[in-house]
Amino acid sequence: MQLSMNVKKSFGDFTLSTDIEFSGNRIGIFGKSGSGKSTLVSMLAGLVAPDDGEIVMDGECLFSSARRINTNPEQRRIAMVFQQHCLFPHLSVKNNLLYGFKRCPAKYRTIDFDALVAVLKLEELLGRGVTNLSGGEKQRVALGRAILANPRLLLMDEPLSALDDSLRFQIIPYLKSVSSEFGIPYLFISHSIVEMRLMTDTVLAFEKGAMLGQTTSEQLARNCMGSSQVGYINLLNLGLPSPVAGLYSYPWGAAQLLISSGSERTGSTAELSSKDIILFKQHPEAISARNLFPCTVCSLFNSGRKIGVELDCSGNTLIAEVVQDAVNELGIVPKSTIFAAIKASAFRLLPG
């Protein structure tokens, strides 16, 4: 998918002005509330008309103020998943799912209804009304409804923000299936860096109605580390745990991690903040932290007033953050060896 947007839109004091061109299938739009993300996607979907400019997608002009083109939303084939599920309350789950499918011209219908229902695990819900579904079920139905419209692009406008943490991480695999299972490119809008890293490859960062730059989700997380209260969140893929002396031992690549909470599920993911990693120049004599790894320093990077240290721990990558004084005292340079200590309680297992 290739998209170019050179548009301006003003609402009172706020003006969104952007000239962007990008391509890819998993694009993120990142920014704080009020940065213009939702206005941007509304203009792309045709729900809001720009004051001025041009929008071209895959060579087709969707909007041009100069040429007086403004394609109707229903003709753009750009579906949307909203912050709130926005399911039609007077229709059943099945009829909600089929709403866009029935309106899609036959030549574009490539997604099979039964296959989608199976992927999103909606079989049991088809005959039900939508008002009594749980938050996660509603968002899955909303996602299915948008996919079945067979769009050429799917816009996801903060689809996880209305969900609590446990549901949020349960829904992410379904959102990712849009691209992986059904081959539909998507634009994922969020103000969460973790969501950006899980959902996207390329990120367009916005602030106060203007684009700051285009980067990767990983680079974005590193750039934001210094200014973020939670630091850089390391996402660790873990194996099946086994209980060890009141803790749980998780395989993590070639290493073992001791974590205070346990999950029976396979393929757990744990979050670990860069602030929760303590670095030692030498192996400490004794330490209360239950995880201590010899690591090789891969690289250092600046982020605000902090220095990020990229570590190789037995083939796994960790990002720790320190201040410049610590870098000098510990003599942290690329390829040096260093010890990283992490408390067992510092990990947060992601639900799902």
């Binding site: 729900l47 109707n72 229903e74 039609f88 309350p89 007077h90 709403y99 409804r145 948008a146």
Partner: protein
């Protein structure tokens, strides 16, 4: 048991006939106007709102007089209709038009309240799923406006049953032709010997109005539950 004459039964039949016809006639227009005011941005919206609500504040006799000027033999529309061989003044059709005009703002108000409660994102979702505006209107806005449509209809029906001022001006008070319950009561009340007859029709009017208002309350509760 209070005696009712055949003229009274005619008045009851005509009242119900007029109220049903006025309500049915107004439904599509009321829905369209409520939709325009709620969902469409256009210049002169306030003028339209004031114009729609005018019969609520004007004395019904004034509304009736304006209708007489419009639909009368020498009126702007009446002369055109007269040329086409259609006569409205002092017919049941005129009574229907008078009731429709007076009750119209109540229908539009109920519909507006209901439409304003519809989440705009549902409309946006429908459009991005491939529905043109008229499809969204029929498949999303109309079904979600049903409680407002029913509540507004019942209110308008009740208002039509009680319509007097505009009706007597444009439709007259012809027993068996245009005489509805309020007009019949007026005629009975003008004669001291017909007090019982007036009271009987008043009671009939109260019973019908209460039944309609009960239905209206049921609709209103249904709307509240949906919210």
């Amino acid at each position: 048991m209070i005696p009712l004459t055949s003229t009274d039964y005619d008045a009851m039949r005509l009242s119900l006939q007029v109220a049903f016809a006025a309500t049915l006639l107004s439904l599509p227009f009321g829905f369209a106007v409520a939709y325009l005011i709620t969902f469409v941005r256009f210049r002169g919206k306030m003028v339209l709102e004031v114009f729609v609500n005018l019969p609520l504040t004007l004395p019904p006799v004034v509304v009736g007089y304006f209708l007489l000027l419009l639909l009368g033999k020498h009126g702007w529309l009446g002369s055109l209709l007269n040329d086409a061989g259609i006569r409205l003044i002092f017919t049941l059709k005129a009574a229907v038009i008078a009731s429709a005009v007076v009750g119209f703002p109540l229908l539009v108000r109920s519909l507006r309240v209901c439409m304003e409660g519809i989440d705009r994102q549902l409309v946006n979702a429908s459009r991005t799923l491939g529905a043109p505006w008229y499809d969204t209107l029929l498949t999303v806005i109309l079904p979600l406006s049903t409680p407002g449509l029913l509540a507004g209809s019942s209110l308008m029906f009740a208002r039509s049953l009680g319509e007097f001022g505009a009706t007597i001006i444009v439709a007259g008070n012809i027993p068996g032709v245009t005489q509805t319950i309020p007009l019949a009561i007026y005629e009975y009340a003008s004669s001291p010997a017909s007090e019982t007859m007036a009271l009987a029709l008043c009671l009939v009017s109260v019973v019908i109005s209460m039944a309609v208002l009960f239905m209206h309350e049921l609709m209103a509760r249904k709307m509240a539950r949906r919210d």
